[in-house]
């Protein structure tokens, strides 16, 4: 059983408005899987459907070979962790309390932490480099710090799959790379399957093993970046002129959007 997630003919929508129209794909265990697509293509909806946050219907929906519906909510929380795009917290909870709350799927009803819980939280904070922020309040952190706290909390859940919704949106370049590097280390060293929604095609190309391109709630293509990130496929999906060449860093594509004033020269 090599697949972390197998989905066939997934339909999902809000009310009578369908967002995903028969999406099929599979995610191999321990791969870095990136979902891309234009605005409104259903990326976030797909991620939430995988996390079982919104109801969906599918011909087949398995997580590690077991039908998703057979997981209890707690078992699901021990298998998948979710890092949402909107990560503001209005209540003055400390970073340490927040990270420790990631242990709750393993705890009793009152969530009294044991030694292992506290050690796991400490390691997660060390791993994400937020040790020094342990006693700061979550509502007083910068965007990058908060994102790392959310990832530390997700690590505490000891998941086999980590779902992230645009974790690098609104972060500067240094923080973007830092978050992506963290995810790559998690994937390589802890064997976690990373499933990420991203707006940034170049980050997807640099880090993703497999890219899933969505448009209008349907799969346009799934495969390694060299197959999916071609200008033919991308221009069709995004409806704009793009320049695709090879990144100076290695054998993966680099995508540059072409501004209007250059377009006449090219044609």
């Amino acid at each position: 059983m090599n697949d972390a997630i197998t989905i066939e003919k997934l339909n999902c929508g809000y009310g009578s408005h369908p967002v995903l129209k028969g999406v099929s794909f599979s995610i191999r265990a321990n791969e870095f899987f990136v979902i891309i697509g234009p605005n409104g293509s259903g990326k976030t909806t797909l991620l939430k459907a995988i996390a079982q946050l919104i109801p969906s219907s599918a011909g087949r929906f398995e997580i590690f070979g077991k039908p998703a519906g057979k997981y209890s909510i707690k078992a699901l929380a021990r298998t998948m962790a979710f890092v949402p795009q909107e990560n503001l917290i209005d209540f003055p909870i400390t970073v340490e309390e927040f990270v420790l709350s990631g242990r709750s799927p393993y705890q009793g009803i009152l969530g009294i932490p044991d030694k292992k819980d506290i050690e796991t939280a400490r390691q997660a904070m060390e791993f994400t480099g937020i040790n020094s922020l342990a006693h700061r309040k979550m509502d007083r952190l910068s965007g990058g710090e908060r994102q790392r706290a959310f990832i530390a909390k997700a690590i505490c859940q000891e998941p086999r799959i980590m779902l992230l919704d645009e974790p690098t949106a609104s972060l500067d370049l240094a923080h973007q790379t830092r978050i992506m590097d963290l995810m790559e280390i998690l994937q390589a060293e802890k064997g976690i399957t990373v499933v990420m929604v991203s707006h940034d095609i170049n980050l997807a190309a640099m880090y993703g093993n497999t890219i899933l391109l969505l448009k209008d709630g349907r799969t346009v293509g799934q495969g390694p970046s060299s197959q999916i990130l071609t200008y033919r496929i991308l221009e069709e999906a995004y409806g704009c002129t793009l320049l695709v060449d090879e990144s100076p860093l290695g054998h993966f594509p680099r995508v540059t959007p072409v501004p209007q004033r250059f377009k006449l020269d090219i044609s």
């Binding site: 707690k74 949402p84 709350s101 932490p113 506290i118």
Partner: protein, 337 residues
């Protein structure tokens, strides 16, 4: 702050509860000692503890009037504060208070109708008030039964609408009332503790204490709910079930409370914020703190209501709001810094 250790949480819950219990007992003693007739503390303690003499005047003052009253104040304070705490977490809105979903409106209509019909405060008016609040409670649960339950804004707006509609009816009822019953209505609307019997205390205790215990079971769930409903769900909380239970239990508890004492304001808003500022936002600590602290606060407010010279005495709701509102503004200013 010390690093967390496995036992420290339980120890902190225990210490906070002990400290606040001591404060509550002190407030109780003060509440029993103060009244319109003066007795020494020594005599009072003797009357409560061993030297029971049913013929003594002090005996009946304490057992029939003051003791029920301070226990009642404690139960009300505890339940209103806990109700505020739960609604603030559930609706993820720091401005939420126990009456926010419209329970108070239904209770008030019931109570006013009871008073207009000339019923005794207990059990008559309490029963009509409880019937009224149960009607609003039913309405709330009905509204929340669909997908609305996970949408805070729609739940809040529905509550505001129930309250607005009820206020209109209350105003209408007040307008057509002329005699001395108007005075009773005003007292009920302000929250009043002047007619409390031991029987009434027993009824309320039997209704709200099981709710306190049930809520404690959900304190860690509340910790996860304040992180956001999606977060809570992906961390193993059955969010739909938890929301429904918390909503139902808290609304029932508040219904029982308002039907006994009228609309005591501000306790449920101020006390949870006060403790959030002092001990943080862990609900496993906050719930016991709010229960005991809210109890102490209301016992002391009631004490003031009786001590302040007035014609007769002040409704305790006047005191809770007079102290509560400025305190709240102060806390808000402080937390904004």
């Amino acid at each position: 702050m010390k690093p967390a250790s496995p036992s420290s949480l339980i120890l902190r819950i225990f210490l906070i509860s002990m400290l606040l219990t001591v404060m509550l007992v002190c407030a109780w003693i003060a509440g029993i000692s103060v009244g319109s007739s003066d007795w020494s503390l020594k005599e009072i303690i003797r009357t409560i503890t061993f030297a029971r003499n049913p013929d003594h005047a002090l005996y009946s003052i304490i057992w029939d009037i003051r003791l029920p009253r301070v226990i009642m104040a404690a139960l009300l304070g505890a339940s209103l504060s806990a109700g505020g705490l739960v609604f603030q977490a559930l609706l993820r809105n720091p401005l939420a208070e126990p009456y926010i979903l419209g329970i108070s409106g239904g209770a008030a209509i019931g109570a006013i109708l009871g008073i207009m019909a000339g019923l005794a405060p207990f059990p008559g008016v309490s029963l009509t008030a409880f019937t009224g609040s149960a009607a609003s409670l039913l309405l709330i649960l009905l509204m929340a039964s669909g997908s609305t339950i996970l949408k805070n804004e729609s739940l809040l707006l529905s509550g505001v609408m129930i309250n607005a509609f009820c206020s209109a009816i209350i105003m209408f009822l007040i307008t057509i009332t002329h005699d001395s019953r108007l005075h009773s209505i005003m007292f009920w609307l302000m929250g009043d503790l002047s007619t409390v019997s031991m029987k009434q205390v027993g009824v309320l205790a039997a209704m709200v204490i099981p709710c306190f215990l049930l809520l404690f079971r959900y304190t860690n769930t509340m910790n996860l709910i304040v992180l956001g409903k999606d977060m809570a769900h992906t961390m193993g909380v059955n969010i739909r079930a938890a929301t429904f239970i918390l909503l139902a239990v808290t609304s029932f508890m508040i219904s029982a409370t308002v039907s006994q004492c009228g609309l005591l304001g501000f306790v449920g808003l101020v006390i949870p914020h006060f403790f959030r500022l002092i001990i943080g936002s862990d609900h496993r600590l906050l719930l016991p703190a709010c229960l005991l602290g809210g109890a102490t606060y209301l016992v002391l407010c009631d004490l003031l209501a009786r001590a302040v010279p007035a014609q007769g005495e002040l409704p305790v709701g006047v005191i809770t709001a007079m102290i509560g509102a400025p305190l709240f503004v102060y806390l808000l200013k402080r937390s904004a810094r």
